[in-house]
Symmetry: D2
Subunit: 137 residues, 4 copies
């Protein structure tokens, strides 16, 4: 299984008056992790422009299990759970760095690949395929 692990710290900006992380911010954390993963694979904006494609988020499902708190050191764990011709689905979760069995939040995020006219188009052959197939990242 190819996984990508992305570390992050909780700052004041992430919290709300109830003392814990505001729920919509988890979506940001998951996206930072996907962005960093794709940057590392060379699937950056320059590559997207060259391929004349771009990505849009189609759906997201979040389960909030335990709250993240101020100054927590966390990890987002991501994997590609489904790779179709015109979409890719990520399974991601957030855990405490110092207690990796403590999962705080899980997400399933489906992303579509569009061409320059905003129509679904084939995801180009790229390192995501290798990752999905279990080849070394």
């Amino acid at each position: 299984m190819n996984e990508f692990i992305f570390p992050l710290r909780i700052y004041i900006e992430d919290t709300d008056y109830t003392g814990i992380v505001y729920h919509s911010n988890y979506l940001k954390f998951f996206e930072r992790a996907r962005s960093e993963w794709m940057l590392g694979l060379g699937l950056d904006l320059a590559w997207q422009r060259e391929q004349e494609i771009y990505f849009v988020i189609r759906s997201a499902t979040l389960e909030f299990l335990k709250p993240a708190r101020m100054s927590d050191q966390l990890q987002v764990v991501s994997r590609v759970s489904c790779l179709k011709r015109v979409s890719v689905t990520f399974e991601q979760y957030l855990r405490l760095s110092q207690a990796p069995d403590t999962v705080l939040c899980t997400a399933e995020v489906k992303i579509a690949c569009l061409d320059n006219t905003s129509r679904p188009t084939s995801l180009p052959q790229c390192k995501l395929h290798d990752i999905f197939m279990g080849e070394p990242a």
Copy 2:
């Protein structure tokens, strides 16, 4: 069916470099609508403290259908779709004010009612019950 309609404008802060609204911000819009609805029903922080309860979000499912854009005037439409002893589920969607048939994003958000020790507790009898039962708001 009791629905609550909440108007909002898209500002620069809501957009991202792709020119459309950043996906996590839709969760903020849905929460503003729920907060405003509950304030209007008297279910505010003072009431929650009096009842010795508070609310946490358990899960959220979002479908992103069409993008919202800079300066758009929108409406969040909300209803209570499920009212259990210790949780309430909202079905919400975002539409263009001037084209109410154009739905941009849908959400299902499940919220649990906790007591002061963070254990699930019964949602007190309140106006949400009337709304769910279809009584006039």
Copy 3:
């Protein structure tokens, strides 16, 4: 003096774990007010594109006097304090709707007018001039 008054509500997203509004969010509130004012004057994106100009924020100075809190109903009061050939400065403050003498935060925001090559260019004759000169908005 031509002033523009913009109402806003504080939601959970605006607060942080200290129980009050997170400081960077005041900049968002001030910008919402400027955006809404300019939209009302017809100085929207279409107008900017027609004029082949766009605006960038050059500097901002904020004084945080009293905290805004969850569910507060507030007003942003804005005026043009300085109108130069290639820049405009706004003086803005945030007050409680129900206690207009209670100022929570003040800002001075300087905005430059750029052409399509990102060089400073003259702000076109527009309703901002009338507002600055004290003509009715």
Copy 4:
């Protein structure tokens, strides 16, 4: 001069429809850097509670010089520029990691030390004093 250097990446969440970083987000970046610095010095929440103090931001002045963009790798450079009995002022700037002479944004942020009754109180003797005096961090 004791400086603290904090690295950060720009993600989609930080940008706006004009293609660059939204202005209020720079205040978040500066605060992340201050928070990380203070955590490293042991001036965390536990320390603040033990000292019966907390910090509030009194003022912030920002100059926006050049825009940060999607995927930029940046550094926040911070130093204590003024240390008074009941307040501390930070001078901070944001630069490109790979072109350290390219300063994107500067900030001066004044922070007050309050006691549990929200009155200004003396900042306890702590490592900030050593840093301000130029002692090794």
